[in-house]
Symmetry: C2
């Protein structure tokens, strides 16, 4: 059994290995590697590996997929940070990708990761066999695309402009729920579902793990919304208070800090119950939940 | 046997069918569909269908893949046209994607297409079986990514700045060859190879069709470079003369118009010989070559 720290070390080693250096033209691989290897919690790949274990699989079989999902996550960060999107200068305490490599290369590095990530799965997971690989490709393309994380990003951008006016015909709370589900929870679901599929989980098990991904994703986003108000640049490594200053639609601007913390406690408790209900326990997932609680002091 | 016009009609119908409307949030699907369905020559999907026929396959089996490659091509156009890249306002006679939908949505529409295109292959080509599908995914992710079209785009951007100074340690003619191979010929190779793989072509056949894709791609790019100097906005639907004005590295700035036309004739003649060498002839590919000749008046 691996600890979170051991997982992070392993994932970092593999991320470094998978992305080559000194391949012409070097700029693009450097730009890809820069954001992918920024220090991070590696929540998504860890969830993928743990989901594989929960359903009786060998986590090593899920390593390429886990790392690919972290690459996909990095892609969303690179494009989210662009001047035409959130226009952020810092990410995880370092200058954002376009600040280092220029805007054009940052756009292309993100594009490249969107193909490179599934390429890594196809290249290093041949042992899974074509049927499982096709399933993983279906999951990846669904959650990475316009039905997944991008739906959340588009709604998020629209919401910045005029969420108080029921855009898309949605009430603010419905819109917020849509954004959280897609922008954040979809990559959590992709992580858990892929790990479970690699382990050979059945439909019922997949439904359960998807529900857990949805809850964990929402919880993580609420904790992020809380921290944007209460944390500092030094703690988070990125510019904070932007949500409040721009009157952005977040869990906190909509419900207030106290209600956000209550809701977060409640969802995390439900997650713990779900995790205990699986045949094989996951101390690591419980530890992740404790980490989220600690992060916001609940 | 289908004519080019019949192919174009069929491809346009399928492109329209594959990209849904009225799916929330609508902006992203509208933005994707806008550029994908701009009137175009549909060279890449036609090549895919014809390659399938050349090696004895049924072109209908290759339709989803052919359309997916056109979507990937549209993705490269959307991101290429962005202000931080080529900063173009017109494409195929219409305002570019970011001019209509805004920069953020154009970035996201491109991102979405990169996952949507393989999703279409996976969804509508199940009959090909998982082994062939995996091969197609390998081809797609390779040619779409940092080893393929993006390598060409990165080198192209670098070349704009200072190609006369042997950047990357390459002489201008070597750099130009690298850019043409990846930025243009790689999608031609992907189109022909995918069609051939769907038809069950063997390694030797794949090598031949790859060589044809390389030649056709280079020829097409030379013709584009010539037209940038000699054509008008009305004929091309985009702002021209930018290459010359910015002293960009192109076949024409490097070798001059006459030498470019000579080279083009020569490569196209080689292509005709290759096409005649396949067991099944392709009148459509020959017609495409005649079209390129006509385009530049040779």
């Amino acid at each position: 059994m691996k600890s979170i720290e051991e997982y992070i070390e392993l994932i970092n080693k593999k991320l470094d290995e998978y992305i080559p250096e000194n391949i012409f033209p070097e700029d693009i691989f450097k730009a890809m590697k820069y954001t992918v290897t920024l220090p991070g919690k590696r929540l998504r790949p860890i969830m993928c590996l743990e989901a594989c274990k929960i359903f009786g699989g060998d986590y090593e079989m899920a390593l390429p997929t886990a790392c690919a999902i972290e690459m996909l996550h990095a892609q969303t960060l690179i494009h989210d940070d662009l001047p035409c999107m959130d226009n952020d200068d810092f990410r995880r305490g370092r200058p954002t990708n376009h600040k280092v490599f220029g805007e054009a290369n940052a756009v292309l590095a993100g594009d490249a990761l969107l193909s490179f990530a599934p390429q890594i799965i196809l290249k290093y997971s041949k042992d899974l066999g074509p049927e499982i690989l096709i399933k993983i490709m279906e999951e990846y393309t669904r959650y990475a695309g316009a039905y997944g994380v991008i739906a959340g990003q588009v709604a998020d951008i629209e919401a910045e402009k005029n969420w108080k006016n029921n855009i898309f015909g949605l009430k603010p709370e419905e819109l917020l729920s849509f954004i959280h589900t897609h922008k954040t929870a979809d990559l959590f679901k992709l992580s858990l579902r892929s790990g479970a599929i690699i382990a050979g989980a059945d439909e019922e098990e997949l439904n359960k793990i998807t529900e857990l991904g949805e809850k964990l994703g929402i919880a993580f986003q609420i904790s992020d919304d809380i921290l944007d108000e209460t944390s500092t640049f030094e703690e988070m490594g990125k510019t904070l208070g932007k949500d409040k200053n721009s009157d952005k639609l977040t869990y906190v601007t909509l419900y207030g800090i106290d209600e956000a913390k209550n809701k977060l406690s409640c969802i995390l408790a439900e997650c713990c119950v779900m995790i205990s209900g699986f045949e094989r326990k996951s101390a690591v997932l419980i530890e992740i939940i404790e980490g989220i609680k600690k992060r916001v002091g609940i």
